[in-house]
């Protein structure tokens, strides 16, 4: 029983960063923007979160640092893709490459420093209930509020939204920033809770997995939650199996999350009925108001 509880705690810890980042990206993509830079925003959040906690000595202070770092990166992305109308795919890749490089340079002196773990609150780490709350809030926002309706409208058909007088660019800026804040927080979670230290490239592809999760969840927040826990379980499973020493090469087990991601994409993307209604129709397209 105790083992099971421990296992559950570990799974939650593995799932939470994926959930946070994927929720943010869900909002971004619902508005019709494909930000492939989640990995870059996340790793910047990780280094900033750790750095903030290290500088102030207070792990809580790391959280706003992480969020702001993610938002700063997101702002860069938004400026390029929304204001300068740069290609979203290329800019997202650039954001990831820059984030990985910049975090390594900034975090150079933080490598090997002892980490400070975020204290528990009533026995659990407070960001876990927060991530559940956020899932509910995002779902409520998207499907029960006028603002959420506007976000979905902008993502479905930006020309129509513009014709009705909504500012497509402003809506998208805000959604991109929200996505950045969530990715930054997810990164902060990694360096403040998951493994409380700073290691270069410590996101290890989690940003990309979060992106795949959004597709897997067909842009529905509750399915994002389910997907994040599924992936959390898979990644913990590989640890557990390694510990059991079954003679399976550890490399094969480590590749499970990545293979699982591919499998999930294949299963979901091939199913047109599942993706039909929710796929934001103008995803990834630049918006240029016509005359």
């Amino acid at each position: 029983m105790e083992l099971l509880l421990t296992l559950l705690t570990i799974i939650m810890t593995a799932a939470t960063p994926l959930l946070l980042a994927a929720l943010g990206e869900t909002i971004t993509e619902r508005a019709g923007v494909l930000n492939l830079g989640v990995e870059g925003m996340m790793v910047m959040g990780a280094v900033a979160g750790f750095g903030g906690a290290y500088l102030t000595g207070n792990p809580w202070a790391g959280i706003p640092f992480a969020i702001l770092a993610g938002m700063a990166m997101a702002l860069l992305f938004a400026f390029l893709t929304m204001t300068l109308l740069a290609n979203q795919v290329a800019t997202g890749l650039a954001l990831t490459l820059l984030g990985l490089g910049l975090s390594a340079l900034i975090g150079e002196r933080l490598v090997g420093q002892p980490g400070i773990k975020l204290p528990l609150f009533l026995g659990i780490d407070p960001l876990i209930p927060f991530s559940f709350l956020l899932t509910g809030l995002v779902s409520w926002f998207l499907f029960r509020t006028k603002a959420g309706l506007v976000v979905r409208a902008v993502g479905n058909n930006h020309a129509s939204a513009h014709a009705l007088g909504y500012s497509v660019i402003l809506v998208r800026y805000l959604c991109i920033l929200f996505g950045g804040a969530c990715a930054g927080l997810a990164g902060g979670y990694l360096s403040l809770v998951y493994t409380p230290q700073w290691v270069e490239n410590m996101t290890a592809g989690r940003g990309w997995i979060a992106l795949a999760l959004v597709v897997f969840a067909s842009w529905l927040p509750l399915r994002v939650l389910a997907g994040a826990y599924l992936f959390g379980t898979i990644s913990i499973l590989s640890f557990v199996l390694q510990a059991m020493g079954l003679g399976i090469p550890s490399q094969l087990l480590s590749s499970l999350p990545y293979l699982g991601t591919i499998l999930a994409l294949v299963v979901i993307s091939g199913n047109k009925a599942l993706t039909r209604r929710n796929t934001p129709a103008s995803l990834g397209q630049a918006f240029v108001p016509d005359r």
Binding site: R144, K146, N156, A159, G165, R277
Partner: protein, 512 residues
């Protein structure tokens, strides 16, 4: 005399170097249906977008009930009581009708309350709409009703309608006129944009005519003829297509036999049991309301989507249903797509490269083996530009920089240049100015009279009656029997557009 509801005074709008509106003035009285006429590109849309707050004028004023106003955005326009029904609807496929309507209302979010209001207003005006239906699943007529309801729910004082009947059957259009007349009787003004002069003459009590961004006439359309209105719009006599009567029917060149094709994608139409034969020397029209399978039929005929059985499509006696588009081109077929930019031509490529697009398989001079000969493509391009009077600023400009009419002349000319035995055209003069439209129609007639079989898919009944010999109607993926144009009336076609032949063909397919 009552005071005007809206006064538009000396509006100028400049885009870059183009003066889209040049000192346009316009008065609209309460309760009047005011026609706003002009050719494609005359500047009508620009002006109504400024009235709706979607664009800001470069200079000039507007007055509403005599008071000067500046409409900063569509929400302000709607708050004043200005509603607009767009030609290309401003709807969201993935959202429900109620959600679509909520997006245009200032009210707080309350879908269930709104659904009730929608039901009562839609019943009152005879505009049936299911608030919970996803818009992507609805027909064009139903979508327009949502657009209209969206305006009606705000108790409009001025309703702007941009080409509302171009997507409707004649009967649906008549129903729309009933609604518009009732609104006018209730005191709501309507600014009515159309190029269908007959309906303007019966519906509207005032008209403003725009040409090249300038107002050229203000008049009472009830006292005019279609010809006199057309002359004012175009600024010259409208050229009539010269057509000789169809001689004895030639041999069957193109035969469709029970052509069926499954729907491709979420909101597409399936083609069901389509049969048709076209002889050399004749032009057959495929009429119908947008979204009834015209695009799918074009793809099936062109081979962009291959058919499942060879015999479904026969050309000069050969069964070729499974052959792809280039194989069909090599058999003398040619295709002109509806969408010029992004289907018939690549916007970002120059005209020479766009020659290669449809000619690389059928024209050995342009592409042989693995190599492309751009010098030959350029020669062919020059020939087409000369023969079809394509006007352009540079020697070899990008396709996107040409006007609609000139680009259409180019993509038509690219195919006519090959003297195709069979020509399939989707919407030959959509969004094209009158001069270019006349030239294109003449070219189609000339080609057919030399012995080619031509299919014209069109939603424009005037065009269909002007140039085609027989007419078939497509509705929900089914095609009616093609009958001689001389034996058909608009009303008869309207019934077919609404699907009158579908039941019949179901019965016959059961019998078979």
């Amino acid at each position: 005399m009552t005071a005007p509801l809206l006064e538009v005074q000396d509006i100028v709008k400049i885009f870059g170097t183009l003066k889209a509106n040049d000192n346009v003035s316009l008065d609209i009285m309460p309760g009047e249906i005011h026609a706003f006429l002009g050719e494609n590109g005359a500047g009508k849309s620009t002006l109504v977008k400024m009235i709706y707050g979607a664009l800001q004028p470069t200079s000039g004023n507007m007055r509403w009930h005599g008071k000067p106003i500046k409409i900063q955005n569509p929400a302000e326009a709607r708050a004043l009581g200005i509603g607009m029904v767009f030609q290309h609807f401003s709807l969201f496929d993935a959202l429900t009708a109620a959600e679509n309507i909520a997006l245009a209302l200032p009210d707080a979010y309350d879908i269930s309350g709104l659904s009730k209001r929608i039901k009562s207003v839609s019943k009152d005006y005879g505009l049936p709409v299911d608030p919970h239906a996803a818009v992507g699943d609805l027909s064009v007529g139903e979508r327009q009703r949502i657009e209209i309801l969206r305006c009606l729910l705000q108790n409009p004082k001025l309703l702007i309608m941009d080409e509302p009947t171009s997507v409707l059957t004649p009967q649906e259009a008549d129903q729309l006129f009933v609604v518009l007349r009732r609104l006018a009787a209730e005191g709501c003004a309507v600014l009515y944009i159309s190029h269908r002069l007959e309906e303007v003459m019966t519906l509207c009590s005032a008209a403003t005519i725009l040409r090249h961004g300038k107002v050229v006439a203000r008049l009472d359309p009830r006292k005019e003829t279609a010809t006199s209105l057309a002359r004012l719009m175009v600024g010259a006599e409208v050229v009539q297509v010269k057509s000789t009567a169809l001689a004895a029917r030639g041999a069957e060149r193109l035969v469709l036999k029970n052509l069926s094709l499954a729907a491709d994608g979420a909101f597409a139409t399936a083609l069901k049991n389509i049969s048709l034969s076209v002889a050399g020397g004749e032009i057959v029209a495929i009429a119908g309301v947008a979204g009834n399978g015209q695009g799918e039929l074009f793809d099936a005929l062109s081979g962009e989507r291959r058919l499942t059985r060879d015999h479904m499509l026969q050309v000069d006696g050969r069964a070729i249903g499974k052959i792809g588009i280039n194989g069909r081109r090599k058999l003398g077929m040619a295709f002109v797509a509806e969408e010029r930019l992004g289907h018939g031509a690549v916007p970002e490529l120059n005209l020479s490269s766009n020659m290669v697009l449809t000619r690389h398989a059928s024209d050995a001079a342009i592409a042989r083996g693995m190599l492309v000969h751009m010098d030959q493509a350029e020669i062919a391009k020059e020939r087409i530009v000369k023969n079809h009077d394509v006007r352009k600023g540079k020697i070899d400009p990008e396709a996107r920089s040409l006007s609609g009419g000139n680009l259409q002349k180019f993509v038509m000319g690219r195919e006519l240049d090959r003297n195709p035995g069979i020509l399939i055209i989707n919407q030959p003069t959509w969004g094209v100015d009158a001069g270019a439209a006349a030239a294109i129609r003449q070219a189609i007639v000339d080609l057919s009279r030399l012995g080619s079989a031509v299919i014209v898919i069109s939603q424009d009944l005037d065009e269909i009656f002007e140039i085609t010999d027989r007419i078939a109607v497509i509705s929900r993926g089914q095609l009616s029997e093609a009958l001689p144009a001389s034996e058909l009336t608009r009303e008869a076609i309207g019934l077919l557009m609404a699907g009158a032949h579908e039941a019949k063909s179901r019965e016959s397919s059961h019998a078979a």
